[in-house]
Amino acid sequence: MTTRVTLRRAAAAFVAALLALQSVSIAVAHSPDPPISWPLFEADDVLQFRWMEGELPPLRMRDAVVAAAAGAAASVVSRAPTLRFAAGGKSTVEYGANVFCGVAGLACADGWHAPDHFHVAFRTHGYQFDWGRLWWCQLQSTITNGCYDVENVALDEFGHILGLGHHVNYSDESDYLDAVVQTISRARPKAGWDADEFARCDVAKLQLRYDMVNTARKYSTCLDLATALSLAVTDTSIRIGDTVTFTATVKVADLAGYERLRANPVSERKVVLERRLPGSVSWTTVATMPASALASGTYQINVSPTVTYEWRGYFLKPTDEGLRASSSAPFVVTVSGCASQPCPQVSVRSTQQEAER
């Protein structure tokens, strides 16, 4: 009975925490790429492209485009589709002067027919624009400054295909390297000219749009996602010597702006169990809660308290990903006298240790 009440309280606290977070949005100061306006391809899909008949890119450009597809697949860190060359692919990559790009475009993309197929086009090596002549680095016998890296530009176009708009940079563009999908393309040797994998703010939007591969994968540091931690205990009124089990559950907050990431369980992170004497202010860490096999995003530990304490779980902000810290609503576990003297000392055992005994 006590257990059920505690679990209900924990659930209520969890909901309250989520409601409190409703006004929280994704990081404003530095945001993921915006979405592009065309439809999305399906998560986990394989998008096969071929070279357009009569518009075949030179061999070294083809190699670079295929490498860009591999670079994209290696760096999406999400369930975003992968791109792959296949002779019979539905989608096309073309090369020519008469491609569908606008007057200043060195390359362009059309994903309007997602989730069925897409088109990507590259202007010809040596094409004369108002802004200058286009040189592709891979097609030069000696690479010169001012050339454009096919792999980098292809990655930008593939980013569009996967649903990314151009990253919104700071006005001084000091954050240019946080995204490959950029409004202004850079030529050699300007920083970022040869980036061959998606950067953190590209990845952030791909994660938002397509979800994570599993609950243990890291969230891009371009995100700033609120988390929600709930804590439950098997009994809130015990005698000295009794053992109770604390179960923490960590999730990404359930907010609309979090798209596919909302309410995702968060596994294999660091969650600690904390206690304090009722009425005191500061918390003391009791132990790190080991991951539980119970369900994704759960952490569990067995404790034998000898004193009445308030308890809470605390999820520490990871230093290498875009998740915020969170703590559970506190609750009291009341401990009454022990049956035999001397009373046992406090001990902490994880469920795993318990199982090993």
Partner: protein, 191 residues
């Protein structure tokens, strides 16, 4: 002749082409693989490039590329004058385009007084959700030293001319309704 100056000519060429095409068309095209019909500003004839084939695989581009990818047009309003901007990289509707920082040599120069208020307006294909104005000197053709000039989150793009000098000003506009964004360029000689 820069692109904007060329556009009026191109619209005429396009109109003639469409009229001729209407007389000679022989059956409907296959719809799925064809681009949509170009808008009047989706230009036809661009440059007549003559690539010097000094580098491997260099090819000469034909004189009549059929560009269809297009963004809303932007004009810089200075007092009573309206100056069309050149669009570089953009995403709009079904297309995205990669382009570099457009150098002064690709732009018509506009003389403006130092205290002028500059406004940017779009055509009726898009509204404005936000904008960032940046500038680099005209000599800095790859914008190695780009700096922020002004930015705003509303539909009105208005800012003061930079200090006297020879500048390329870029305004990146985020279109309303999630339609994308585009970078527009002007060559300003601020007196």
């Amino acid at each position: 002749m820069t692109t904007s100056a060329r556009r009026a000519h191109e619209v005429l060429v396009l109109a003639i082409g469409l009229a001729v095409g209407a007389c000679t068309a022989a059956g409907p095209p296959t719809a799925s693989m064809l681009p949509p019909p170009p808008s009047p500003s989706a230009v036809a004839a661009v440059a007549t490039p003559a690539a010097t084939a000094t580098e491997a695989d260099a090819s000469v581009a034909p004189a009549t590329p059929a560009a269809v990818s297009d963004a809303p047009l932007a004009v810089l309003v200075v007092g009573a004058e309206r100056h069309p901007g050149e669009v570089g990289g953009f995403t709009f509707g079904r297309y995205s385009q990669s382009a570099p920082w457009l150098p002064a040599t690709a732009l018509d120069s506009i003389r403006v007084p130092a205290d002028a208020e500059l406004r940017v307006e779009l055509d009726d294909r898009a509204t404005i959700d936000g904008w960032v104005a940046r500038l680099a000197t005209s000599a800095d053709v790859t914008a190695d030293a780009v700096t922020g000039l002004a930015e705003g989150g509303g539909a009105v793009v208005a800012f003061n001319a930079p200090v006297p000098g020879d500048w390329v000003v870029s305004v990146t506009i985020t279109y309303g309704d999630g339609l994308g964004s585009g970078a527009y360029f002007w060559h300003l000689i601020v007196e």
